[in-house]
């Protein structure tokens, strides 16, 4: 057994591309959302946009993690 056996290598898999969506939405948020209206839960649109994508990041990264776990369980022959 190696020093990191049992730990699946995080190679880049096809479903990992999902992570690009929130990354682009957040990095380039001013180009999508640099305005006040429409307000989101009382917040200016840009702040609401960022908050929405932060929550989506958690959701999407959770989905990626879940798919990876299932695939690792299937692939595992150890």
């Amino acid at each position: 057994m190696s020093s990191y056996s049992g730990d699946a290598t995080p190679i880049f898999r096809r479903h990992h591309w999902i992570a690009l969506v929130p990354a682009i939405a957040l990095v380039f948020s001013p180009y999508f959302a640099n305005r006040i209206e429409p307000r989101i839960a009382g917040m200016p649109f840009m702040l609401g946009w960022i908050v929405f994508w932060v929550i989506m990041t958690a959701v999407l990264m959770g989905i990626i993690l879940r798919i990876d776990r299932q695939q690792n369980a299937n692939d595992s022959d150890e």
């Binding site: 990191y4 730990d7 995080p10 990095v27 001013p30 960022i50 932060v54 958690a58 990264m61 993690l65």
Partner: protein
Amino acid sequence: MNISFGILGLTLLVALLFCLRGVRTATTLEQWSVGGRGFGTAFVFLLLAGEIYTTFTFLGGSGWAYGKGAPAFYIISYGTVAYIMSYWLLPAIWKRGHAWKVLSQPEFFTRAYDSPLLGKIVAIVGIIALIPYLVLQLRGLGIIVSEVSEGAVSTTIAIWIGAVSTVVYVVLAGIKGSALNAALKDILVLIAVVGLGIALPYHHFGGIGPMFDKIIAAKPGFLTLPETGQSSSWFVSTVLLTALGYYMWPHTFGSLFSAKNSNAFRRNAALLPIYQLILLFVFFVGFAALLVVPGLTGADVDLSLLRIVRATYGPWVLGFVGAAGMLTALVPGSMIMMSAATMLARLFKPAPVPYTHDANSNAIPKISNNSDLTLARWLVPVVAAVAVFFTFQGGATLVSLLLMGYSMVTQLFPSMIAVLTGSRMSAAGAIAGIVVGEATVSALTVSKATLAVMLPSWPHGVTDLNVGVVALGLNLLAMFVVNAVVGGGTMQAQFVPTRSASS
């Protein structure tokens, strides 16, 4: 002596008691600085969150919302982008660090490039970048204590008390003390910030929406990015640069190796974004303060959170908020001190060959001995003393020093990625890139140059870019040019033995 100050003192005492739990196990440098590499998801989460949400978040986040408006939103964005990257970045770093049995960032670079010189350069960069970060925590601590005690305790005494307490608990307990206090801190901060972020807008304006209505009416344009200056291209370039630098801070990097396995990081990539939303409530406090306690300018915007609490609530609340704020300075402060001391110790006294191989060609660690730990412990007060010295020295230059620190650690990113992607980058290429990058950062910081000054006739989309882009560009250029001249390195070969053993 008032009530709020009593609460502050009590919290400090509890924090010191907490750290005593780590004393028994802190017998080797490995136990002291990375907890024997045995931390699970919860502890790693607390440590990462604990170092990341610092007094800058607590006081600086509300201060930015108060003083700058929409540009402050970048703080939520870059952290989240860094967490997305962390899903791939941190397991890759951890795996190599674990196989190589390294405790710190410089050792990581030394092993990766088989170059002690590169390791020394990285250590020096890290120590220089950490000092202003530590100064910032101490100054924040001074602000909190003097505000909460309503001037009864001077900033000078507060800084000394804070520095000495941090040194004591770092020296005694190491990383376990930090993890327990990170838990206490996070609970207090969560209650304080979420509570204030909701209560203050309702108390003063009847809700979040009505509060923003008032700001829009009073300061048109405050809640969108301006056309020039901190404009859209500033936002994008700053989010990208700081996200790249996020995990390059030596103390953050070092604490990664406290994880038992790399799964902790992937789970945290999904959890930390939610935690990041604490910043939203910090912003609400800053925006409320803008209308309730207007008139703070310059560095005083950092007082906005404490001022509005003081103006709205009694001493109990002020004491509680102050206690939370104090821990946001002490916990990251302790991590920074520990990291700087570990790096300094290794600089004077390099680690022995990190591993040998057993019959199956698996790496066997050579465990560090007690004298390394003794040296690192002695260096903690030295680091603290230097930081206290600079805390009393500097005035307006503090912010520029912090930005310089951030820009400096970001320069380590290209040669880190070269390691993780298994490219055959040579040590000479990595050294050239880092040295050129750091020299550019220093020159730009000292001369206070911006692209708008250097390229006056260029469009704002270009000149508003964060100047760190220039340093990173020159860094990459130097790296590839020198690498092409001297030829590829051998670092990939180093990682192959352990890797092939696993498959």
